[in-house]
Amino acid sequence: MKKIGIHTRWLVTLLFLVGLAGQAEAKAPWQWQISLVPESRNDAMHMPHGLFIDASKDRYYVVDSGNNRLLSFDRKGQLLHAFTADDQLKSPIGMIRTETDDLWIVERGRNSLTQIDIRNKQTVPHTITDRGRLVFPDRIEYTNGSLYLLDKASGSILVLDLKLSVRQRIAAPTGKDNGGLVDFVLHGNEVWALDQKAKAVYRFKADGTVGGRINLGVEAHFPVSLAIGPRGFLYILDRLDNDIKAYDQEGRFSYSFLGAGQAQGQLYYPEEIRFDPWGNLCVVDEGNGRVEVYSR
């Protein structure tokens, strides 16, 4: 009896230590690397909204909405340039850069998708309509000559060519819990999109049909952005909880990290998460006026 007791105690201790180690691995796999912020405190970002990462140029572009400008940073987080398009930008919230060096900027202040030809210093705002309806551009992505644009008015994603003709529409199936899409990322040939109200992520195939749905479960409270990690984990930014929730390849909740606050490693009304091509997870933290970059 006594021997069994000792063995049991050892076993419990061992299991406890293994559990602790596992917990540490599950709870804190991400380490802060750099913050994308201007060096001068007097030049701080104000309500940054979007992030675009140019792998070919090793650059991060941050959309500094409150200051009506775009900031570019190198991979070490050094500010390279601030671009205001001669003070013409009006509440920009998102951007992409094409291989021909054209910038496409979503300007909420004039509800336009604005094309900027940097070489010729030309700025052309475009009001987008689809089937006669006014489009409210929101999140934007680009690949192979196609612009993927989230229309906030319809809660769907429009695929446009560079002449801004709508080629395809991607929408979640209509249903009682469907509240419209609020964010999306391109992943291989698929589009993964987040439905905030349904608390679900839809996987759309190349033809726009639904290939799968991942329910985020009771852990998600106010999801606003999603990213897919190199290992296939799904990451969800929760604006109410001020944290990031990780789901495994099967869509099962795994762990959450970060939390509310102003200090480094804390979030305050975060807006967007994206993976950079080097495997780092970038968080656009609107309330704290910065983008923080985490690596495993």
């Binding site: 309500m47 409210f136 704290n288 910065r290």
Partner: protein
């Protein structure tokens, strides 16, 4: 030896039982028994087990109760504890206030309701008590449970069914189609135009009509415009268009007209034609925000109307607030707007380089600290910025 110990415990247990029983018998020496003898009596009381809820000597809670609020009730009503946490939960249930509706001892109403059903409901839902020219029959008869569940439901407004399905349970589809000139072919979104309790208009059409609807249908439906987009509304409501051009606009839609997420296009009970009370509308998407607010020990007073602080159509400020984290507060807190801890554009938070505002330290939605402070005001709140202290 072991048998002796077990026997001793048994004797002690029997003694305790007899003490409790004797104590309960003596309760009515002071507490007038007649007060507990209405038509329906709560089972423990009927069995003379006052001790099931009360401690006769000393207790932490008022009324010498063994537990506080719903925790006491859930000790016996175990299934209710699980069921009442699901879906849309009635506010008193969520707060654990069973006695808001029920009498713990006895009642002349069924289910130990404090008053008869409708009277109990109308104690809180006072606006429903207003007299209307026309009333919905179940409401007029006080049959609230014909449509609502009292504790929790899978549907908004604690409805027993999806609202359209519920209406069609009594109202024949063919008759309704006739009344709507055949459109829509299947009646839907009934509550968008009809008040299910009462109205001064025939057919319980809500009292305030959208101006174009009062004139007819053509202004919106007659010109071939797409009605399933916000464009149709923005043609007249130009002031709202500006709000939608803000960084935090409130456009939410799943393919339809986003305005209709909150507003009725035809008739409403309020001038703004909201589909329901503001809190109900906001809560339908921001349930967790409300749940946390209500669970907070210190909440901002007068926070029943979200639009006091938030610009519900859109704002260029964080959290869709009406101004930055200072100006929105200073509208009411005028003295703090003049004299307070330094705030404003020239005062930067050392943690993030952002402007210090009222919400750097306060979280008006509610916290566990007095004045809705984010941390204990004696130290933890100040040290993150004032590191040298």
């Amino acid at each position: 030896m072991r048998k002796t110990i077990l026997f001793s415990f048994f004797v002690l247990f029997c003694l305790c039982l007899s003490c409790v029983a004797r104590a309960e018998n003596v309760c009515f020496k002071c507490h007038t028994k007649a007060h507990f003898e209405k038509k329906n009596v709560h089972q423990p009381l009927r069995d003379g087990k006052c001790g099931a809820c009360h401690n006769p000597h000393v207790a932490k809670y008022k009324g010498l109760l063994q537990q506080q609020g719903a925790q006491l009730c859930f000790a016996c009503h175990t299934a209710a504890a699980k069921d009442f946490a699901k879906g849309v939960v009635h506010a008193p249930v969520r707060k654990g206030e069973c006695l808001a509706c029920h009498d713990a001892h006895s009642s002349n109403s069924s289910a130990l309701m404090r008053k008869d059903l409708a009277a109990t409901c109308l104690e809180c839902h006072k606006a429903l008590a207003e007299k209307n020219k026309y009333s919905h029959a179940p409401f007029a008869k006080g049959q609230c449970l014909a449509c609502h569940r009292p504790h929790q439901a899978a549907n908004q407004l604690l409805l027993t069914e999806n609202s359209d399905k519920l209406c069609l349970g009594c109202h024949q589809e063919a008759t309704l189609a006739k009344g709507h000139q055949g459109f829509p072919s299947t009646p839907q979104k009934c509550l968008s135009c009809h008040n299910p309790h009462g109205s001064n208009r025939k057919a319980l059409v809500r009292n305030i009509l959208h101006e174009p609807f009062a004139k007819g249908c053509d202004d919106c439906h007659g010109k071939g415009d797409a009605i399933d987009s916000v464009d149709i509304c923005l043609k007249c409501h130009q002031n709202i268009k500006e709000k939608l051009y803000t960084t935090h606009n409130h456009l939410t839609s799943a393919g339809g007209n986003g305005c209709l997420s909150c507003h009725s296009p035809h008739a409403g009970d309020r001038k703004d034609l909201l589909k329901a009370g503001q809190q109900q509308i906001c809560r339908s998407c921001h349930e967790e925000t409300y749940r946390r607010k209500e669970a907070s020990s210190f909440q901002h007073p007068d926070s029943t109307s979200c639009s006091n602080c938030h610009d519900v159509h859109g704002s260029n400020d964080l959290a869709m607030v009406r101004g930055n984290g200072n100006s929105v507060c200073a509208k009411c807190h005028k003295s703090q707007g003049q004299f307070t801890h330094p705030v404003g554009e020239k005062v930067l938070d050392p943690r993030n380089g952002q402007m210090v505002t009222c919400v750097s330290c306060h979280y008006p939605m509610g916290t566990e600290f007095k004045f809705q402070l984010k941390q204990n005001g004696s130290k933890e709140l100040c040290v993150p910025c004032h590191r040298t202290y």
